[in-house]
């Protein structure tokens, strides 16, 4: 908070949030709306505390799935982009299928995957499918965005392919890769949730998305809201963490991480 302007920018959304909650609470109380129709914010909070053992366990399951999907997407996306960069033939052969995977809605693929794969595997694969494409396309873009003269310099000094990759292309692509990872973080959570809901209807699972579906069937609406709140917070934390990592890695040299004053 450097200036009053910054303070206002921080306080305004907080004020809107608080006002929204107060209004919500007031409406529920005024009209005596039943919790199975619309629970009040206070009730949601109470449920969150009361159901914490079960919800926290589910949160752990979903986060683990998300993490596994994210790591698979990050590694898979970057490795695939590197392979494409080294071999045009490989890129021509496989890239269309990457696009196909990307444009086919994952909610439609999930039931199929659940037939052929073990549930835990299927969930991770779903998270991977949703999240790997931005990593792949951003990394590809980054690897192709190398300064032409710098590439010439590497050529002049007889750099090997590996040296060019390690000392030129990867560092040059890093800001793009990190941008892709930031998108992939949120998407792998979405992939995990979609797969859990699809799997939940198949009868097993204990992730947060499964809790939401289950609570829906049981008209336990307060718990639905509580689980939704946790999912939302998880998404924010994931994004924040990845943004922080990106900032720490780029702050010394990349425009995107520099303050406006410099």
């Amino acid at each position: 908070m450097k200036s009053p302007q910054d303070l206002i920018r921080f306080l305004l959304p907080v004020a809107v949030f608080a006002a929204g909650l107060v209004l919500w609470e007031a409406i529920v109380r005024t009209y005596g709306i039943q919790p199975y129709v619309l629970p009040s914010p206070l009730l949601v909070l109470k449920t969150l505390v009361a159901d914490w053992p079960i919800l926290s366990q589910s949160l752990g399951v979903t986060l683990l799935t998300t993490l596994e999907g994210f790591v698979a997407a990050a590694v898979g996306g970057v490795v695939l982009a590197l392979l494409f960069n080294q071999s045009k033939w490989l890129e021509y052969s496989l890239f269309p299928y990457a696009v196909v995977l990307q444009v086919t809605p994952v909610i439609a693929i999930a039931p199929l995957l659940l037939i052929y794969l073990q549930q835990q595997t299927a969930v991770i694969v779903c998270a991977w499918i949703v999240a790997f494409f931005p990593v792949l396309s951003n990394t590809t873009l980054g690897l192709n965005s190398v300064d032409r003269n710098l590439a010439g310099l590497f050529q002049l000094y007889g750099a090997s392919r590996l040296q060019t990759l390690l000392f030129l292309k990867l560092p040059a692509a890093l800001p793009y890769i990190l941008g892709g990872l930031r998108i992939a973080g949120g998407l792998s959570l979405i992939g995990a949730v979609v797969a859990e809901i699809a799997a939940g209807s198949a009868g097993a699972g204990s992730g947060l998305a499964f809790r939401i579906a289950e609570s829906g069937y049981r008209l336990n609406i307060p718990r639905m809201f509580a689980a939704l709140l946790l999912l939302s917070l998880a998404g924010i934390v994931i994004y924040g963490l990845l943004a922080l990592v990106s900032h720490l890695l780029l702050r010394r040299w990349h425009e995107s991480a520099l303050g406006k004053e410099s």
Binding site: L156, Y157, W253
Partner: protein, 302 residues
């Protein structure tokens, strides 16, 4: 100023670089004798550091960008290629460096006689500083040595020396974005010098700098050239810069670029700020400008 003593490494014979298509005997008829206003008379005992014969460059689109070009640059000589934008002077430099292949013709460079790891026959300075933004000044200068896997202790010494030469020793730990345009160019120069090249190729390196900074870098470059006895080929579109720096100015014609005229800048005064305002300097500039004028003929806005 007398001719610089030849670099010991350049006494060896010429070795073909193995680029381009050898064409055997090249007809020189395309350069009419009347076009050559002044031929450099002295020839050094050591052979040319760079020899181009019948070099042309035609793009895939069919546009002839360069040549045919015949050029000999003596070891230790400072030569400027002067010409309008698009005359192919940068292309010529890239061909000499091996960054582009000539469509026809041959390029020969003097044998680079050293076993030292991380030594390189050519240093190249681009118009842009072309630094790695993610690396410190020191790491940027280290790049050629790192690529050649030069021994670490030797590399550190050479980096220190190169940074000293360009006056940036105190900024070794800085990142490029923290430096001014002139300082970035100095880093680029240090990176070219760190391999102890025989030939320094410079592609309009100071074109984007303000005048004061450019003058300072001109003077520093001259000092380095005198001290280090490099062969320098300097591409520029500035008559004043070419006359100020060079022993020989080669004026190129409009596309496809050929040699339109050659001048030996045999000044009696030492190069320095005094020279910039001397009558002799003005006379050279007038002469060179006059020779350059036809290259701009027919161009819009010329």
């Amino acid at each position: 100023m007398g001719p610089a003593p030849p670099h010991p490494a350049l006494r060896a014979d010429l070795s073909p670089v193995g680029r381009g298509v050898p064409r055997g005997t090249i007809a020189l008829s395309h350069i009419q004798p009347s076009m050559i206003e002044s031929i450099v008379p002295e020839t050094d005992a050591s052979g040319p550091a760079v020899r181009l014969r019948g070099v042309t460059k035609t793009y895939d689109s069919g546009v002839a960008a360069l040549g045919p070009l015949d050029l000999d640059v003596k070891s230790g000589e400072f030569v400027s290629l002067l010409g309008p934008s698009g005359c192919g002077k940068s292309t010529a430099l890239r061909i000499i460096a091996g960054l582009a292949a000539p469509s026809t013709g041959t390029v020969e460079l003097a044998h680079h006689d050293t076993e030292r790891r991380g030594s390189h026959r050519i240093g190249f300075v681009f118009q842009e500083p072309t630094l790695m933004p993610w690396a410190t000044v020191r790491d940027n200068v280290r790049l050629p040595l790192k690529l050649a896997r030069a021994p670490a202790t030797d590399a550190e010494m050479r980096i220190d020396a190169a940074l000293d030469q360009v006056g940036l020793a105190e900024f070794a730990g800085a990142y490029p974005r923290e430096l001014s345009g002139g300082m970035k160019m100095r880093v680029s120069l240090a990176r070219a010098l760190v391999t102890d090249p025989d030939i320094l190729l410079m592609d309009e390196p100071f074109a984007a700098l303000d005048e004061i900074t450019r003058f300072r870098l001109n003077n520093d470059l001259l000092t380095l050239w005198r001290d280090l006895h490099k062969t320098v080929i300097f591409v520029t579109h500035s008559v004043f810069e070419s006359v100020y720096l060079s022993e020989r100015v080669i004026v190129m014609t409009a596309r496809p670029g050929r040699i339109g005229a050659e001048f030996r800048i045999a000044s009696t005064e030492p190069r320095g700020e005094e020279f910039r305002t001397s009558a002799e300097y003005a006379a050279f500039c007038r002469e060179v400008s006059h020779a350059l004028a036809p290259s701009y003929a027919g161009q819009a806005g010329a």
